[in-house]
Symmetry: D2
């Protein structure tokens, strides 16, 4: 029996970078959580402890902060691409660089109804995410994979949701529901269809993010839902249709159950008014929605 090294990668995770940009008295915040991972020829450190090819994770951290100063006001996807390029260009034995980013949203504080130029409150309604993978191809060029996304976004609708006509087996006790609360916490990622680093760096990721998110939310609101699966598909379909550079959307939607409380023991009727919000267990609906000509996902899309 021989023991071998398989897939491996390493890096510095959760670098909490806050970049302030000042323009004539108005300040802007870019607030990021940046994680870097490198793969390549790292057998020596694993097999015999030689670190001659190891760029320390501390150096990766320094690079993240130094680049935040050099390249201000970038969208997270572009910042990730710039970092990946650097690591591939400067480390010839690195064959893949990955950067994951979380961006925290800050709103301006309103003072007498007017946004303050230099004071902010954190808007945690959603976290914007991005993931960038750049591979060194066999011919020495670079192939990029970029996804954008959203996390921590909790949505709920109080009408236009039912769940009926399902299988009843020996273990089924669930009654059919023709009018239920539907609530979920959205984790969504969407892939951009280009693999070219330079053209991706010029892309308007801010607009793409806004359109994708708005269409996703509007579809959730408007769609008459026969199942959370159907709603998921409609949300993804609308995002791709309205923002066609998105070639694929992947969503993970926990079904955050709101159970109608039985008030009949107290002589009260509960006309779909009072619910208990349950923590666990929860349904979990996951699916990918694709444009039929979507290119390969590479490593941007971990298999489940």
């Amino acid at each position: 029996m021989k023991i071998q090294l398989g897939e491996n990668r390493y890096g510095k995770a959760e670098n909490r970078v806050v970049r302030i940009t000042r323009k004539q008295g108005t300040h802007h915040i870019l607030d990021l959580n940046v994680s870097v991972q490198l793969s390549g020829d790292f057998d020596d450190t694993h097999l015999n402890g030689s670190n001659a090819k190891v760029l320390p994770t501390d150096t990766q951290k320094n690079t993240v902060f130094a680049f935040a100063q050099k390249f201000p006001a970038m969208e997270p996807e572009a910042f990730g691409l710039t970092l990946c390029e650097h690591f591939l260009d400067s480390q010839s034995h690195v064959t893949r660089a990955e950067v994951r980013l979380e961006q925290y949203v800050w709103d301006r504080i309103l003072v007498d109804g007017k946004p303050h130029p230099r004071a902010f409150q954190k808007n945690t309604t959603l976290t914007r995410t991005a993931r960038v993978v750049v591979d060194r191809t066999p011919n020495g060029s670079k192939e990029a994979f970029v996804s954008s996304g959203v996390e921590d976004l909790v949505i709920l609708k109080t009408s236009d949701s039912e769940f009926t006509g399902f299988i009843k087996d020996h273990y089924t006790t669930l009654p059919e529901a023709t009018d239920r609360i539907m609530a979920t916490q959205v984790t969504a990622k969407w892939r951009h269809d280009s693999h070219d680093v330079q053209s991706l760096k010029k892309k308007d990721f801010a607009k793409s993010f806004t359109v994708a998110t708005e269409r996703m939310l509007a579809t959730f609101a408007k769609h008459y839902s026969l199942s959370l699966q159907q709603t998921l598909f409609e949300m993804g379909k609308e995002m791709i249709t309205q923002q066609p550079d998105i070639c694929s959307v992947r969503m993970s939607l926990p079904n955050k159950h709101h159970f109608l409380v039985d008030l009949s023991p107290f002589g009260q009727e509960n006309k779909n008014e009072v619910f208990i919000a349950a923590d666990r267990p929860y349904g979990l609906i996951e699916a990918v929605v694709n444009r039929d000509d979507a290119p390969d996902a590479g490593f941007i899309w971990p298999a489940w």
Copy 2:
């Protein structure tokens, strides 16, 4: 040596009530986390296991949900008062009822710029809180203590904050800062000055909350800060001044440090642009700001 029972209370914590109210096709959500605690003559259950005076915590839970149906669309403070009244009125051996509430804010989803009447996204920028204590007085009447508050509100300003002129002792290494990021996560509670249950139930807690929160945020934004302590005092002072039924404000403000990153080893100058957001340790500034005629806080204000 004799062993005695001291202070005690019991109840059902974290009842997650969602109350939907429907008005001609427009739905409203009241989303609460309600915790009840009762005190009184409970020696028997502690000392000999007799539960003859114990109203089960399960019954308290049922009461919370039943009352959410009976008394819709109440402000959290008023809902807490109504629950406390019920427990004191129905359980003669209960001498104090306490209710803590957290209210989660839901915004309407925008569909083509218009708020949807029945679809929502959770706004976690802040959590609204309330605490109600109602005591049965020796003469049998009720005395209420009500506080409102806010949690999970993260704010940051990029100008108008310094910290200088402090004590330097043997262990001091901190340089003076004339231009720093100031950031904190606000936990604030404010007391209302009435102790009368009926008049408190009629109070416009929604307006009071809006005014208090807006003035707190505006003061943070506008104030030129010589210390976080000074900013805290100004915030509390402005809240009481603008919303005079508030007699006292208590704040706990962690100083969420943002450290300037030294980029000089890389030949870069960091002109107050790039910061690392630190997790721990953090400064912690806590104070109470009072109107000079503030009535006694009773048990609404736990001592530190």
Copy 3:
């Protein structure tokens, strides 16, 4: 209307100190989370921003780390006393120093059944806590208040627990239970009866902690429980009886409900075998158990 400063304090929270002590090849870890708070004459910083009396929280942090080197291998209570003494002795305008400590437990890794002298695994079964408050009295001496405690300790018994004979009102649906799972997550604090700094510093807090915790657990295991309140009282009583320098025990015991699952729809009988562990809501039972001659708690015991 005049606005005044009320109670206030400030300090550095959550200093994560790891202190290694080496004795002839065997290493020992003291792993603490230390939070310091100072009170005293701090009107100036709140009211006009003068920091002339402010010892920076950064200096407090430095002091914690410097003292961890100077005073190795101390019990958390003694480390807190030493820090409080320092701040009162060196800052004449400070009238109260408070230190809260969490100690994380590390077990030695077993290698072929033998504990390794320099390799450890974290034992998160419980977190040991301590709180120290030292007041400067009007005559200039120091008065200390010390409590020890435990958090994050989850315990469960599968027999000898019932809950019957309780009040049934209009909202009661709970059936009586003559054989139930009883589970809780213990947060307990116990006060030591001396107020003298020097004698407290010599106390064997390690032994006291071990005896108190062992007796608490053994009582939970052995006691036939008619209510969680009764079990709480018996646990506290036994702790004080067996470790008589403890004058008071305060416990907060959430009733972590385990509900019997109804398997009858599937033709199965559930003979107290299969339970669902519920998250929320939970019962919450809180009480203090006192020696009849317990001295005043001062500020060590925040009122509820």
Copy 4:
């Protein structure tokens, strides 16, 4: 442009099952968190909302609890296999069933040094995990993939760890370290080499888990580490060597940095004694260690 459904699955997540088994006055706890996911022919529910092929997640939950009563005292891997078999056997359009399990460890409370037969304390030093995937093959038989693992296990060594000889580039400031604290929080999974459901169900997973975990910990303790990567490889190699049915080990090891505190400003020398335990950022080292004849991982091993 056409929009298509891609990969999808659904199920009930985080079913918190507690199973008590009683043997002559001695009780045993199996405490699991069970998540089920099904894949197969579910186009209809996504594309047109027909639920005719949807087994509700509520039914999956019921099945988990019913099976916990029917099949007591199973190892988590075997319980997962039994559930997967059921869903494939009873739902002909399901082509893959997945079950993830977390098992919480309970120790018996010691009463006067003796383990109590019916009272327990939760041992959160590690969480045992398992993942089971069973695929329906084109010829209608079943192919199983099973991994076991551990989470939440924090380990630390105070000697025999260095990190030197690494790349120094423009952004490197890290000094070489010849004697450092090495600490990590282990997330490890290991694959079992059989794909046969029936033989896997008979496997002694308890022994396999004990051997794998003990060898992993002993290797961490004993190995002289030149990098965390090298330690990871040695840990995986030893696990496979000592428990040869394990064909592959995958580990994710955050490097939990402990930074030596500079005490020289205070005139103190820090001889590797006082450290600050940092939260973020952290290094992250991930690798797979394989037996050279390891069979295909199928879907048990999500690609990164």
